[in-house]
Amino acid sequence: MNDAGIYQGAALPVGSKGRLSSGWWGMCTVIATEAALFAYLFFSYFYIAAQAHGEWPPGGPPKLLIAVIDTIILVAGSFTMMWGERGIRRGNARRLLWGLGVTIALGAIFLVLQSIEWRSKPYSLSTNVYGSLYFTTTGFHVAHVIVGLLILCALFAWTALGYFGARRHSAVSIGVMYWHFVTVVWIGVFAIYYAMPYVAPG
């Protein structure tokens, strides 16, 4: 440093420094605002549940089987994704492709199971306020899963094109962060819509 304090240090990375690209910060803000969105959805659920007359949820607590499998699938997907991402950090693009491929498959299974779950419900979006809340909240989540899958597919293609390696993979880190967020939101949905009615019946 000279007396003006002008930078005279070592060479600086160009573009991004490891995972900490501008996009990484951007994704943090996206997750903050999306998390707020789900927080308001959950608030709406509790606000309406607290003032409900009669049984809540109407018709008793929901069946758990598919939702539990869903949870296992999404959590497993987060782990396979983490495994793949660790691969690219060491320059192993093949391992990342495997990680992405398995996670995409798990995500697709989640979507199939979720559509079965939706069809099994005796109520719809327009039956009563519980149906509106349930389908809107899980619908928002499914929309996020679809967006997450599109992101993972793009990452798969870009990885296959050889764009990423140990030095450059911030796009992967950003996409993976989003996918983890989708998993976390599902855990929230599961806890509130599926588990809580058993723990604290209304």
């Binding site: 007396d3 003006a4 304090g5 002008i6 930078y7 005279q8 240090g9 070592a10 060479a11 600086l12 990375p13 160009v14 573009g15 991004s16 420094k17 490891g18 995972r19 900490l20 690209s21 501008s22 910060w25 951007g26 803000t29 903050a32 605002t33 999306e34 707020a36 969105l37 927080a39 308001y40 959805l41 608030f43 709406s44 606000y47 309406i48 003032q51 409900a52 007359h53 950090r89 979006l125 327009s126 009563n128 306020v129 519980y130 149906g131 509106s132 809340l133 809107t136 599109l150 793009a154 870009w158 050889g162 764009y163 990423f164 390696g165 140990a166 030095r167 450059r168 911030s170 796009a171």
Partner: protein
């Protein structure tokens, strides 16, 4: 340690040693010619100016609506407007001023100024910056789309259900509002994201967090607030649209829904929003008023902390908009007390401004008059807010003209006055020309007199029991004289605004040349030419104190900033990335070039909302496909930006 890709030692340069620097940078940063260039530019200064111009257009539209409203209310039993016309006009007046003027105008200032204040060459995400503008423009048009058909939103800006439900309001009025607000919210969110990341990433070396101007604190706070608050209102409007068009029951009592859910979601958003549209304006004053007092702001740290704590507290007082909804006394007491507490940070700011004036040596420019008057208007608006914080008093005051007076003192006093003062202050920077001082003083006095004459009596109308949002009143109510004064005063205020616009127009053509720093101000934007070159700074400045351009006039120990010598960064569009707190350089950032993708994305989004409004599912699907394709193209990893293994030219 992660291997970070190609490395480079930034070349240092001295502007005076190499006159070719500026020409080289200009070629790198210049926007292409013609319409395509105009549509694809990502220059923050251009976008900032567009924000300012468009939000002022909306201010004028909202003002014309107000003028018609005041003609209707100037005397008892007027029949200029039908009730339905009146209801659409007052709703659109509120929507326009609050959503299409008050925040966008501040985004305009911040978009224009942030990189200049922070010593950077652009925002962190230049293309997102363009996107947020295009969405703002298209959402504004969308919200006005049904106005010419006489089917504009008519539920008031807070649009309470069930009046806004399909059963009581079956026309497209409310659907336009609901979808338009979800759409506009995306602009706000994208803009907020950009400000936050810009603050985190692209400050000049040495511009540590405790040195950024208060305007930056204000906009940062507003952006974080918006990021967390906007989802509440977007969700509420989306639920409302679903209730109206898809058959859900969120607000429908008959199927277990709750009308008050709307109010909670709306005000959880609404109150932080109110702070989002005043904190950056307060920041303008905190930065510009001291320049004319010829001293640094008294209490930089308390004012910055007050800014942040106002927003934190602002998330905990939403219920004070609902004091008359029949909540239990314990909740009322809590939210009432919280609403008193939020006065404290405002007091910090007021006394900081007063102390700055007292311990400084004021220079009475037109800009300064606006800032000094702002302090007075802030106190009046703050105190009427203090009165409504008290539940038992509020249950009389709420929904009367007293509240109308309060919110106009807040929005005009704390937003419009600093904005107009800020334009006088930065006009020479933006255009290279000074505004006419004499006309500036005239416009100030007419605006100030008209504002107080027009809006102070609204307090009295409220105390005389006049409810807000009534399209007429009988002559026996005793509200006639006070309303006549309000109408005349507001017209006088409008004349003041017109004088200001005349001044802008004349000064654009004939204003005196300004030079880089006409006010002898302390912050970085004044170190570059007026108007600034497209690349902002020929070399990246290095900041050593809070007041880089006043270091020669303040006591030693403040450090020596450098604007003359610094990093050149001319391998394409580049700026420096620094650490979050200390602003140490840690990466050379590659900035994207001009692009049509933001416009394409905004148009695709608009098409989705139009499709939803018209129930044209084909449009929605096609537009969603276009949106996804645009996104993939936009996000495709680029070698030039250093997003792939290869990087151009390293």
């Amino acid at each position: 340690m992660i291997d970070s890709g190609p490395l480079r030692v930034p070349v240092l340069a001295r502007v005076s040693d190499d006159p070719g620097i500026e020409e080289r940078l200009r070629r790198i940063w210049e926007t292409g010619p013609g319409l395509i260039g105009w549509l694809s530019t990502v220059d923050h200064k251009e976008i900032g100016k567009r924000y300012l111009v468009l939000s002022f257009l909306f201010l004028l539209i909202g003002g014309i609506e107000a003028g018609v409203i005041r003609a209707q209310l100037g005397a008892p039993d007027q029949t200029l407007l039908t009730p339905e016309q009146y209801n659409q006009l007052f709703t659109m007046h509120g929507v326009t001023m609050i959503f299409l003027y008050a925040l966008p105008v501040l985004s305009g200032f911040s978009n224009y100024l942030w990189p200049l204040l922070l010593g950077s060459r652009d925002m962190a995400f230049p293309r997102l910056n363009a996107l947020s503008f295009w969405i703002f423009l298209l959402a504004g048009l969308f919200l006005y789309a049904s106005f010419p058909l006489g089917m504009a939103p008519d539920g008031g800006w807070f649009n309470y259900v069930p009046y806004a439900a399909h059963e009581f309001n079956p026309g497209p009025n409310i659907d336009v509002y609901a979808l338009g607000m979800v759409f506009l919210g995306m602009s706000t969110t994208v803009g907020s994201t950009n400000f936050i990341v810009t603050l985190a990433r692209t400050r000049a070396p040495g511009m540590s967090l405790n040195r950024v101007p208060i305007l930056v604190w204000g906009t940062l706070t507003a952006s974080v607030g918006n990021l967390l608050a906007v989802p509440a209102v977007s969700l509420a409007f989306f639920m409302l649209w679903m209730d109206r068009q898809v058959g859900t029951h969120f607000f429908d009592v008959a199927a277990g829904g709750q009308p008050l859910l709307w109010q909670h979601l709306f005000w959880m958003f609404g109150h932080p929003w109110v702070y989002a549209i005043v904190l950056p304006a307060m920041g303008i004053v905190s930065d510009a008023l001291p320049t004319f007092c010829r001293r640094p702001l008294v209490g930089y740290t308390p004012v910055a902390l007050a800014t942040v704590s106002t927003m934190v507290l602002g998330f905990g007082v939403w219920v004070h908009h609902m004091f008359a909804t029949g909540l239990p006394p314990i909740a009322l007491s809590f939210f009432s007390a919280a609403s008193f507490v939020i006065v404290i940070p405002s007091a910090v700011a007021v006394f900081a401004w007063l102390a700055t004036i007292w311990t400084g040596r004021p220079v009475f420019t037109a800009a300064f008059l606006f800032f000094a008057a702002f302090v007075f208007l802030f106190v009046v608006g703050g105190l009427s807010g203090f009165m409504t914080a008290s539940v038992p008093v509020d249950r009389q005051l709420t929904d009367t003209y007293f509240v109308v007076a309060h919110l106009h003192y807040v929005l005009i006093g704390i937003n419009v006055f600093p904005v107009v003062g800020g334009i006088h202050y930065w006009f020479p920077k933006i255009t290279g020309r000074l505004m006419n001082e004499r006309l500036g003083r005239w416009s100030f006095w007419v605006m100030f007199a008209g504002f107080n004459l027009g809006f102070f009596p609204m307090h009295i109308a409220g105390l005389l029991g006049m409810p807000r949002r009534i399209y007429t009143y009988g002559s026996g109510m005793g509200w006639g004289p006070v309303n006549m004064v309000i109408t005349l005063g507001s017209y006088l205020f409008a004349i003041g605004v017109l004088l200001f616009l005349v001044n802008v127009w004349r000064s654009l053509k004939r204003g005196e040349a300004a030079g880089p720093n006409p006010w002898h101000a302390p912050s970085l934007e004044w170190s570059t030419a007026s108007p600034p070159p497209v690349f902002n700074f020929a070399v990246i400045p290095t900041v050593a104190s809070r007041y880089p351009l006043w270091e020669d006039r303040l006591e030693a120990g403040a450090g020596r900033s450098s604007t003359e010598e610094g990093m050149l960064l001319d391998h394409g569009r580049e700026t420096i990335g620094t650490t979050v707190v200390g602003a140490e350089p840690d990466v050379i950032l590659r900035m994207p070039g001009d692009s049509l993708a933001p416009l394409a994305l905004a148009v695709a989004m608009a098409a989705i909302f139009v499709g939803l409004l018209l129930h044209s599912w084909t449009t929605v699907i096609v537009a969603t496909g276009a949106l996804l394709l645009t996104l993939v193209a936009w996000l495709w990893p680029s070698a030039a930006l250093g997003q792939t293994m290869e990087i151009a030219d390293e």
